[in-house]
């Protein structure tokens, strides 16, 4: 007998001992004692028989039904009842698992050993022929009980539900950004220079970085200024002579690169600075 599907037959598979209510009227003892006298719809009978989880379950049922002690295993009686069941299963042409027939053979073997008169020369400590079966029955009963207890434990989705809260809208996952070392940066620049050196037309010359930094700063200062800015406003007196020189060099470099324009109305008057304006639509739209 293949094992029943998990969900569909659920009520039914628990039927014989766990939940007597739904099927109480069909699996009474009467049927077991005199199957021929009791009309049970074949479907229902099939359900009852299929509800056993195997030969051990069936044996356990027979023992418990008659309130026998497992350890006293009345082999003769139990074997007879077991065989009746197996016969009914055969009659109903249930797909009878090999396990049931194997158990029938085991029972027959035990029965024959129990019935044999004990030989006089038999050793004292000869094992009870029922011992192995009793051990298996008890082990199975323990697991069957454990399964029932497991089923009665508080269980998610049935006895309790998970409580959760949403994060507030301002809670964004944090992305850990890669680290970069100064050394990596410098080595990258060196790689570029080395590669660029392979192209004749590039001449990367050393330049004072402070000037280039100041060029960025001046451009940033002028960006968004529609009006001219006074030349002096680009200088910070606190920086001293060196700072003034750097700014001056940066302004010259920017003029050379046509990034800014200088305007002086007349000699010795105020010099004004402005970022170069786009020639109106001459170059199309800004790609960036």
């Amino acid at each position: 007998m293949s094992e029943p599907q998990d969900t569909q037959n659920d009520n039914l598979t628990r039927a014989p001992v766990q939940q007597p209510l739904p099927l109480a009227f069909v699996h009474g003892e009467a049927f077991l004692e005199r199957p021929e006298d009791l009309y049970i719809p074949p479907d229902a009978l099939e359900v009852i028989l299929e509800s056993f989880e195997g030969p051990l379950d069936l044996l356990l049922y027979l023992i418990r039904k008659q309130k026998f002690d497992i350890a006293s295993l009345p082999v003769l009686q139990i074997t007879r009842q077991y065989m009746e069941y197996v016969e009914v299963m055969k009659d109903l042409k249930l797909e009878l698992a090999g396990e049931y027939l194997l158990m029938a053979a085991i029972l027959a073997e035990i029965k024959s050993r129990v019935l044999l008169p004990k030989r006089a020369d038999a050793p004292e400590d000869e094992e009870d022929p029922r011992a192995e079966l009793i051990r298996r029955l008890r082990e199975y009963e323990a697991i069957k009980q454990a399964a029932q207890e497991l089923d009665s434990l508080p269980r998610q989705e049935r006895d309790f539900f998970l409580a959760a809260a949403q994060t507030s809208e301002n809670c964004q996952p944090i992305r850990i950004l890669p680290t970069v070392t100064l050394q990596e940066l410098v080595l990258s620049f060196q790689d570029v220079l080395t590669r660029a050196a392979a192209f004749e037309h590039h001449h990367i010359k050393r330049e004072a970085l402070s000037t280039r930094e100041r060029m960025s700063a001046i451009l940033e200062r002028l960006e968004g200024e529609a009006q001219f800015v006074a030349f002096q406003a680009l200088f910070t007196v606190e920086e001293g002579r060196a700072g003034v020189v750097v700014t001056f060099l940066a302004v010259l470099e920017l003029v050379k690169e046509s990034l800014i324009e200088l305007v002086q109305a007349a000699p010795y008057t105020q010099i004004h600075v402005k970022a170069c304006q786009p020639l109106e639509d001459a170059y199309g739209t800004d790609l960036e």
């Binding site: 094992e3 029943p4 989880e53 009870d128 008890r138 323990a142 497991l150 434990l153 998610q156 006895d159």
Partner: protein, 196 residues
């Protein structure tokens, strides 16, 4: 923020457990939300205990399960809360529960060993269902011919049944003891090795 008041700490831990996608352990709290806050294990434990008490009279409870702390609804509210969902909670067949119980109590165990105890073959369908639910996993292979897989239960199994440890399962001693009582004067010894 290198220091945090107890009140703020409690709010942070409480919110973290509520918004985390799964149960969260004290260790993971330290590695994530409490990083840089210099909260001792002892202080965190005291806060968690306080939270547990705070929520005792409430509709949700702070519970510690195998993989950490989580909030879950009070057991007694289940009949009403289940109306929030159309489908009924899944029910499990005896075959599945017996297989699961064997794996839980006798792990690691092979399919063949499960079949020996149950006296019937174990359907592939059951093993598949249990694996898909994340309740069991293969933890190795037995060094016998065929190298059958050895199954064990997972933390997710314990979480689902609201258990912190495997030893919180209904004690196996209970039914070993039960078995002992029916042994007639030493004639048949319970095979205790097998029962553990």
């Amino acid at each position: 923020m290198a220091r945090i008041s107890n009140e703020q700490l409690k709010q942070l831990v409480e919110a973290a457990i509520f918004v985390a996608d799964e149960p969260i352990s004290a260790e993971r709290l330290q590695e994530t939300v409490l990083l840089d806050l210099k909260v001792s294990q002892k202080r965190l434990k005291a806060i968690l205990d306080e939270l547990q008490l705070d929520y005792r009279p409430r509709g949700v409870q702070l519970i510690k399960v195998a993989s950490g702390y989580r909030f879950q609804s009070m057991d007694s509210l289940a009949p009403w809360l289940s109306k929030l969902w159309q489908e009924q909670a899944p029910r499990y067949s005896r075959a599945l529960l017996e297989t699961l119980a064997l794996i839980a109590y006798r792990q690691p165990i092979t399919r063949g060993e499960i079949e020996d105890v149950r006296g019937v073959s174990v359907s592939t369908h059951i093993i598949k269902t249990l694996s898909e639910r994340g309740w069991i996993k293969v933890v190795g292979h037995k060094e016998v011919p065929g190298r059958p897989a050895l199954y064990a239960t997972t933390k997710a199994f314990l979480d689902y049944f609201s258990l912190g440890h495997l030893d919180e399962l209904p004690s196996e001693l209970d039914f070993t003891a039960l078995a002992d009582t029916v042994v007639p004067d030493g004639q048949i010894k319970p095979d205790s090795e097998e029962l553990h």
